[in-house]
């Protein structure tokens, strides 16, 4: 059990954090005066009264960028230990990391080419297919999938 002793401070901190959060909630419930009014219960208690619901959706590109970020973030995490032992790995390590970086770079190229980093109005860099002909059926299908939530 000796090895677990060093984790004791973390455990204590964890308990303290939980206790503080719990205490705060309980204390405010007990101590604060409760006098609700309709103005107080509105989503925005001050400023202009909202005319319609706040938008629920925001561009899917945020997710995309987040994922791209995660990929390159992991690459950096991978490079860090490599840099630490660079001397011991020698030329082999250099070659391998260049291959690795090249692979990552190619994927970045692919992302750019496919418009993953384009912002602003949607501009289709490459058509889905040069061969796809537009028919009523295809339009209906695309509209159907595109506006799933609206319908």
């Amino acid at each position: 059990m000796g090895s677990l002793d060093s984790y004791l401070p973390i455990f204590v901190l964890f308990v303290l954090a939980l206790a503080f959060a719990g205490l705060s909630i309980v204390a405010s419930k007990l101590l604060a005066p409760q006098r609700p009014t309709s103005a107080k219960e509105a989503p925005y208690e001050c400023g202009i009264v909202p005319a319609n619901e706040p938008p629920q959706r925001f561009p899917v590109r945020f997710y995309l960028v987040a994922m791209i970020f995660v990929i390159f973030d992991i690459e950096v995490i991978f490079l860090f230990p490599w840099a630490v032992v660079y001397d011991q790995l020698g030329r082999f390590g250099l070659v391998e990391v260049i291959v690795f970086a090249a692979a990552a770079f190619f994927s970045l190229l692919y992302l750019v080419a496919n418009g993953a980093l384009d912002w602003g109005p949607v501009r289709r860099v490459r058509p889905v297919s040069s061969l796809q002909s537009r028919t009523t059926a295809s339009t209906v299908r695309r509209v159907g999938t595109g506006s799933g939530e609206a319908a």
Binding site: F78, V85, Q88, L89, G90, F92, E96, V99, F100, A102, A103, A104, F106, S107, L109, Y110, V112, A113, N114, R126, P127, V128, S129, S130, L131, Q132, A137, R141, R142, T145
Partner: protein, 549 residues
């Protein structure tokens, strides 16, 4: 990218295990087929990114076939090396180059030669061009190759992920179809879950034996008797669950019908062949070479799983009205047959399983390619009724499908028969008579739904059939002895390519078959029939599937 990560990561694992940085010698020739696939994949990505105009899907298909052939050649060179100089391990003993592994390298290469041909037509028709299908297939293939040659549980896990993740994407590849997205989500969630179980199995096994290296685990188990073996058996069980999920063995098959049905059809065919090849390769290696000492423990478990898989696959397929779903259950039944070889746990059993996977891969690729063609634009019309009268509309396509289906049923003079024969022989030689009998019983059940499809294709629509009573009034004698026959079985085997391509008739039910798909189908059917009559080379080949321990 992921492939390089795998190599480095497995290397890193060894560095850590060694306690210091001891540089392993990387034998690049030992992993050349995998490197060819990954290098080719990078080239495809680069070309597609830099080309000013989008390239047609056929260009990528051709390139992928080229890459597949290159890796096939590299695999055959390795095979020759192994048969001349014996098996060896490479890259800090993480990679096993033995007859068994090399056979799977050849199999994966073959799949990668055939699959792009069969997919090209579908991708063009559905308007989902681009390099993605091919790139994902290549990555997945490299994962399957690493799985087959891996000699370390950690590498097997990484390979499993490299194999699976592209398959998840392929399942959801057709972004215009909602069912495709659903399939991808199901496959991904359940797949991730099974991967987690698998990792836990690795951890427990490591805890019990002190190594993740298959050879070291086997050596440890051979030297020591594990008295309290709860941890080890738990690890074994979790590993089995992880593998069983990948190869769709009952009761871990739940995802299969939905995913097979929802995925774009060429992706389904690829998934069925590649995931089974990779999954069974590692499953066979781990259980037969690493845990032979525990055979008494896991053989009964495999026995039960095999029986469930065989029976459920065959019986549930009977009531399916969607062809893709039916083939999904039939693939579960086939997985049961491959398990016969594992249950035998002998060299003969392993050879039988390898033979089965070899033949099955071509059958399933070809079958799903036909389904894709018949499904028509939108890839949605897969009901059984769609196949009624196909034999009259498009005889060559129908005959192709009939051959593939009959081979799956195990008709004689096709590879399907010898595959079943081989695994049943293995089971019998391991005294699993009951299992062999159950397997053949399910083969008979399975024959029913294959035949139903064959009959639908060759029965005619709207043709008036003289009834025994009804035709009485028209009974005028003629000068021949002929019966008023039903006719309608169309051309037996036409000159295949030419006939497949001709689609000029105005019948709306006629579906277009691109020459690429036709070429791929000819390859599948030729393999099925040629090796069905002359199986000697394939049998010899499977006999090389020796595992080093």
């Amino acid at each position: 990218m992921t492939g390089s990560t795998a190599i480095l990561a497995s290397m890193a694992a060894h560095l850590l295990a060694a306690g210091g940085i001891a540089m392993p010698r990387i034998d690049y020739t030992a992993i050349l087929p995998e490197l060819i696939l990954l290098g080719g994949m990078l080239v495809l990505v680069l070309v597609s990114s830099l080309s000013p105009r989008p390239l047609p899907t056929e260009a990528y298909a051709t390139a992928t076939v080229g890459i597949g052939i290159a890796s096939l050649v590299a695999s055959l060179v390795l095979w020759r090396d192994v048969s001349d100089h014996g098996p060896f391990t490479a890259v800090a003993r993480a990679v096993n180059v033995d007859g068994f592994g090399v056979l799977f390298l050849v199999l994966v290469s073959c799949i990668l030669v055939v699959a792009p041909l069969l997919a090209a037509g579908h991708l063009r028709r559905e308007g989902v061009g681009g390099c993605e299908y091919y790139v994902l297939a290549l990555i997945s293939g490299s994962g399957a190759m690493f799985m087959a040659t891996a000699n370390d549980l950690v590498l097997i896990f990484l390979a499993l992920e490299i194999l699976s993740i592209p398959l998840y994407i392929l399942a959801g590849f057709d972004h215009l179809r909602e069912s495709s997205g659903e399939a991808a989500m199901k496959y991904f969630v359940l797949g991730a879950f099974s991967s987690a179980i698998f990792v836990y199995g690795i951890a427990l096994t490591y805890g019990a034996t002190g190594s993740t290296n298959l050879a070291q685990i086997a050596a440890f188990l051979a030297r020591n008797v594990v008295t309290s073996d709860g941890v080890l058996l738990g690890g074994l069980a979790l590993l089995l669950v992880g593998f069983a999920f990948k190869v769709a063995a009952v009761p871990f098959h739940m995802w299969t019908p939905d995913v097979y049905q929802g995925s774009p059809t060429p992706a389904t065919g690829f998934m069925a062949s590649m995931a089974k090849a990779g999954g069974f390769a590692a499953l066979l290696r781990v259980f037969v070479t690493t845990f032979p000492t525990l055979r008494g423990t896991w053989q009964p478990a495999i026995w039960v799983i095999a029986v469930l898989t065989l029976v459920l696959g065959a019986v549930v397929a009977l009531v399916q009205s969607d062809v893709k779903r039916m083939l999904a259950y039939s693939s579960i039944n086939h997985a049961g047959f491959v398990l016969l070889g594992l249950q035998a746990a002998t060299a003969r059993g392993v050879a039988g399983s390898v033979f089965y996977l070899f033949t099955y891969s071509f059958l399933v690729l070809g079958s799903f390619a036909v389904v894709s063609a018949v499904g028509g634009k939108g890839d949605e019309r897969h009901g059984l009724e769609r196949y009624r009268g196909l034999g009259r509309r498009q005889p060559a396509l129908a005959v192709t499908f009939a051959v593939l289906l009959l081979a799956q049923a195990g008709a004689p003079f096709t590879t399907g028969f010898f595959a079943k024969f081989y695994v049943v022989e293995a089971a019998v030689s391991a005294h699993s008579y009951a299992l062999a009998a159950v397997a053949m019983g399910t083969a008979a059940v399975a024959a029913f739904f294959y035949l139903r499809l064959v009959f639908l294709m060759f029965s005619d629509v709207g043709r008036t059939i003289p009834t025994h009573e009804g035709a009485a009034t028209g009974g005028t004698p003629t000068d021949t002895l002929e019966m008023p026959s039903a006719g309608g079985v169309a051309t037996l085997v036409a000159a295949p390519v030419a006939a497949l391509v001709e689609v000029a008739e105005p019948d709306p039910a006629i579906v277009a078959v691109s020459p690429w798909v036709a070429a791929g189908l000819v390859l599948c059917v030729a393999t099925t029939l040629v090796f069905g009559v002359w199986p000697q080379p394939l049998v010899d080949f499977a006999h090389q599937a020796t595992l080093i321990i």
